[in-house]
C-alpha cells in the first residue's frame, strides 16, 4: 500500500496543468465569460483552441486500450486530469465526452452532450456533435429529435449553457425517471464530476489564501485575523478530506465509495466557494472576480448524477 501518486501520475497531472495554462489561462476564461455573456450563454467551446488540444492530450480517450487509440490508463489518471479541469474552470461537456468515448458511445474528437443531466435538462446541447443518454443498457445515442424539442434555459453558470428537455419525453435512463426506478448512475460519471469539484475546492482555497495575504485592512493583511485564518483552515480540511475520498474511490472503483466521495466533494466545492467569496468581501461579489464562477459551477455539478440526498441514501444502504 502506497497511496501517494506515482511519478507517472504526477507527471500526467503536471502536463495537464501546463496544457491548461496554455489553452485556458485566466484571460481565456474571462474572454469565454464575456463571449457567453454576449450570446446569453449559448456559446459552444471553441473547438480549434480547446477541443483539439484536449483530444490530442488524450483527455477523452485516456481509458481506451492503446490498441483502440487510447492511452490505456485507468480511473485514477482520469481523476487527476478532471481535477485539473475543475481547478481551471474549463468549460464544455468534458466528463460526458470522456465517458461516451470510454464506453464506445462516441468517437474520439467529437463533442458529446448528455440528455438528462442535470436532471430534466441537457448541458452544452448547442454545438454538440452527438447527444447521448445513460439508460438501462448503459450509454446510448439519444433520440434524434432531442435538439428540436429542447428549450433553452437561462443558465445560472454563464459557462454552462442549458436546455430543458420536454416533460414526459425525458430519456428513460436518466434523471428522475432513473431514480424512480431505483437505477444507479454510472460510477465513473459520479466520480469524475467529484474530481472536478475537488479541483474547484482546491482552487478556491488557493484564491482565498492568496487574497487574505494581500488584502490589508486595519493596518495588516486580513489573513492575520483568526476569523479569516480559521475559514481558510476549514477550506483546506474540506479539500484534503475530499481528495482522500475521491482518489481512493478511483483506486477501488467501488460505486458506493464514489457516491460518498461526490457527497464530500460537492460539499467542499460549494462551501469553499462560499468561504472564498466571504473572504473576498465586496470584491468577491463582483462579476469581475472569479469566485462566483466557481460557486455557480459547483452548484451545477452538485445536481449532476447524484445530489446529496441520493448520495446519503446510498451510504445509508451500506449500513
Amino acid at each position: 500500500m502506497d497511496f501517494r501518486l506515482t511519478d507517472d501520475q504526477r507527471a500526467l497531472a503536471d502536463g495537464m496543468r501546463t496544457l491548461l495554462a496554455r489553452i485556458f489561462d485566466r484571460d481565456a476564461l474571462r474572454a469565454a465569460v464575456a463571449a457567453a455573456d454576449a450570446t446569453g450563454s449559448k456559446g459552444a467551446p471553441e473547438r480549434a483552441a480547446m477541443w483539439k488540444p484536449l483530444t490530442e492530450a488524450g483527455l477523452f480517450a485516456l481509458r481506451l486500450p492503446a490498441g483502440d487509440g487510447g492511452a490505456g490508463l485507468g480511473l485514477p489518471e482520469a481523476v487527476l486530469l478532471f481535477e485539473q479541469a475543475g481547478q481551471a474552470l474549463l468549460p464544455g461537456p468534458l466528463a460526458v465526452t470522456h465517458l461516451a468515448v470510454t464506453h464506445g458511445a462516441a468517437a474520439d474528437g467529437e463533442v458529446v452532450a448528455c440528455a438528462g443531466q442535470p436532471p430534466g435538462m441537457a448541458a452544452y446541447l448547442d454545438g454538440a456533435d452527438r447527444v447521448v443518454e445513460y439508460g438501462d443498457d448503459g450509454w446510448r445515442e439519444a433520440a434524434a429529435d432531442v435538439w428540436d424539442r429542447a428549450a433553452p434555459v437561462r443558465s445560472a453558470d454563464p459557462l454552462t449553457p442549458l436546455h430543458r428537455l420536454p416533460r414526459g419525453r425525458l430519456p428513460s435512463g436518466t434523471g428522475a425517471a432513473r431514480r424512480a426506478a431505483g437505477r444507479r448512475p454510472p460510477g465513473d460519471a459520479v466520480l469524475l464530476t467529484a474530481a472536478e469539484q475537488l479541483g474547484s475546492a482546491a482552487r478556491t482555497t488557493e484564491m482565498a489564501v492568496e487574497y487574505a495575504g494581500q488584502r490589508r485592512q486595519f493596518g495588516r493583511p486580513i489573513g492575520g485575523f483568526q476569523a479569516v485564518k480559521h475559514l481558510c483552515a476549514g477550506m483546506l480540511v474540506r479539500t484534503e478530506t475530499a481528495r482522500a475520498a475521491v482518489y481512493a474511490a478511483a483506486v477501488t472503483e467501488d460505486f458506493r465509495e464514489a457516491a460518498g466521495a461526490k457527497l464530500l466533494a460537492d460539499e467542499a466545492a460549494v462551501a469553499n466557494a462560499r468561504d472564498c467569496l466571504q473572504i473576498h468581501g465586496g470584491m468577491g461579489f463582483t462579476w469581475e472576480a472569479d469566485v462566483h464562477l466557481h460557486l455557480k459551477r459547483a452548484w451545477l455539478r452538485a445536481q449532476m448524477w447524484l445530489d446529496a440526498r441520493e448520495a446519503e441514501e446510498i451510504q445509508a444502504s451500506a449500513l
Binding site: P119, G282, M283
Partner: protein
C-alpha cells in the same frame, strides 16, 4: 411585554390598508430593472403618492410601532419598497433629521419625503471596506468650499442620484476616526465620474464613483468638521437596526411560496426538507419578534437603534442565505434556471453577510461592545 397595538395604531393600520387597496391599482407598470430613468421615475412617483396621502416621512418621524405597521402592511399588500429612495429615506434623511442644522433640514428633507430627489451613499472605498475609517478620499478647504478628490465604491443608484452622502478625510494627520467629515455632494458637480459596477448576479445596482477636485460648499457639511465618524455611526445604526424590516416580512411570504412549490412538485413529502422549511418558519418568526424587541428597546435611547442591531443583522443575513439554499433544494435542478426568481434572489443573498458590515465585523462589534471582550489588536 405588550405586543398589542393601541387603538390609534390599529386605526392607522386599517386606514393604510384601505388606502393601499385603492392606490396600488393606479400605479403604472413596474419598469424593467435595467431601465434606470424609468425606475427613478417610478420610485419617486410612489414616494410622492405616499407623501400626498400623509405617509411621506413616516420612516423617520412616526413611532416605532407605527413604522412597523406601515412596513408590514405595505409589504403584505405587495406595494413597492423604497427602491431608489433607500438612501434618502433610510440613511441620509434620518441622519440629517438628527444631526443637520435647521437650514440643512429645510433644504434636503422636503425633497426626500416629497419624492423629488434621490440620494446615494459614498462611504466604502476600494481600500476601506471593513475598515471604513481608513477611508482616504481627501477634502481640502478652499474658501467656502472643500475640494474633494478620491474614489468610492458600492454606491447604489449613483447613476440617477441627485445627492450623495459622502464621507471624506478633512484632517489627514488626525487618528483615523477623528479626521472624517460628512458631506452632501451634489451629483451634478463637475469632476464626478460614475462607472457601473456589475455584481455576480449580473446586475448593476451599484457603481464606482471617481471624484477629481470636486467643489463642495462647506455649508453642505452635516455635523462639525472632523466629527463625521460619530455622524456616520448614527447613520449605520439606522442602517443595521431597521433597514431590514420589510425584508423579513418578504422572507416570510417567500417561505409560504416555497411550501406551495414543494407541495406541488412532491418534495414536501421528504421530511428532511419539510422540517428545514419548518425550522426557517420558526427562525423568521423569531426574527420578527427580535425586530419588535429592538424597536421597543430603542425607545429607551430616543429612537436611535443601538448595537443590538448587530445581533439582528448577523442572525438575519445567515437565515436569509439559508432560506435560498433551501429554496434551491425545493427547486432541484431548476435552481440552475436564472428565470426562477429564487435563483436570482439566491445570488443577491450572497452579499448579505458582507454588505453593511461583514458577519466577522458584526461578531467583533457584539463581542467588544455588548460583551466587553478585549479589542482586536
Amino acid at each position: 411585554m405588550d405586543l398589542a397595538h393601541s387603538e390609534e395604531d390599529e386605526a392607522f393600520r386599517a386606514e393604510l390598508a384601505r388606502w393601499l387597496a385603492a392606490a396600488l391599482p393606479t400605479l403604472p407598470p413596474r419598469p424593467d430593472p435595467r431601465d434606470w430613468p424609468g425606475r427613478r421615475a417610478y420610485d419617486l412617483g410612489w414616494q410622492r403618492m405616499l407623501y400626498d396621502a400623509g405617509y411621506g416621512e413616516l420612516h423617520w418621524t412616526a413611532s416605532p410601532a407605527r413604522r412597523l405597521i406601515f412596513l408590514e402592511e405595505t409589504e403584505r399588500a405587495g406595494a413597492p419598497y423604497v427602491g431608489a429612495n433607500f438612501v434618502g429615506l433610510l440613511h441620509a434623511g434620518p441622519t440629517i433629521a438628527v444631526e443637520g442644522a435647521p437650514q440643512q433640514r429645510a433644504r434636503w428633507l422636503g425633497p426626500i419625503v416629497r419624492g423629488e430627489e434621490v440620494w446615494c451613499q459614498g462611504f466604502s472605498e476600494p481600500d476601506a471596506g471593513s475598515d471604513l475609517a481608513a477611508l482616504r478620499t481627501r477634502a481640502v478647504r478652499d474658501g467656502d468650499a472643500y475640494i474633494v478628490t478620491g474614489s468610492k465604491v458600492w454606491t447604489s443608484h449613483a447613476e440617477v442620484a441627485d445627492w450623495c452622502e459622502l464621507l471624506v478625510r478633512t484632517d489627514p494627520d488626525a487618528p483615523k476616526h477623528q479626521g472624517i467629515s460628512w458631506l452632501a455632494l451634489p451629483m451634478d458637480a463637475e469632476g464626478i465620474t460614475v462607472r457601473p459596477l456589475r455584481t455576480l448576479a449580473g446586475s448593476t445596482e451599484f457603481a464606482e464613483l471617481f471624484l477629481d477636485e470636486v467643489r463642495v460648499p462647506v455649508a453642505h457639511r452635516v455635523g462639525a468638521e472632523n466629527d463625521g465618524w460619530r455622524v456616520t455611526m448614527v447613520t449605520l445604526g439606522f442602517e443595521r437596526g431597521t433597514a431590514f424590516v420589510g425584508e423579513v416580512v418578504a422572507c416570510r411570504r417567500t417561505l409560504g411560496e416555497l411550501a406551495r412549490e414543494a407541495r406541488a412538485n412532491g418534495r414536501w413529502d421528504d421530511p428532511g426538507l419539510r422540517r428545514s422549511l419548518g425550522r426557517l418558519h420558526a427562525e423568521f418568526q423569531a426574527l420578527w419578534r427580535l425586530i419588535q424587541w429592538n424597536v421597543s428597546e430603542a425607545q429607551t435611547t430616543g429612537g436611535v437603534p443601538g448595537v443590538g442591531g448587530s445581533v439582528f443583522k448577523l442572525r438575519y443575513s445567515h437565515a436569509r442565505q439559508k432560506l435560498y439554499d433551501t429554496a434551491a433544494q425545493v427547486l432541484g435542478a431548476n435552481c440552475l434556471d436564472l428565470d426562477r426568481e429564487w435563483t436570482r434572489d439566491r445570488l443577491s443573498s450572497l452579499s448579505y453577510t458582507i454588505a453593511a458590515g461583514t458577519s466577522q465585523i458584526q461578531r467583533n462589534i457584539i463581542a467588544e461592545r455588548l460583551l466587553g471582550l478585549p479589542k482586536d489588536r
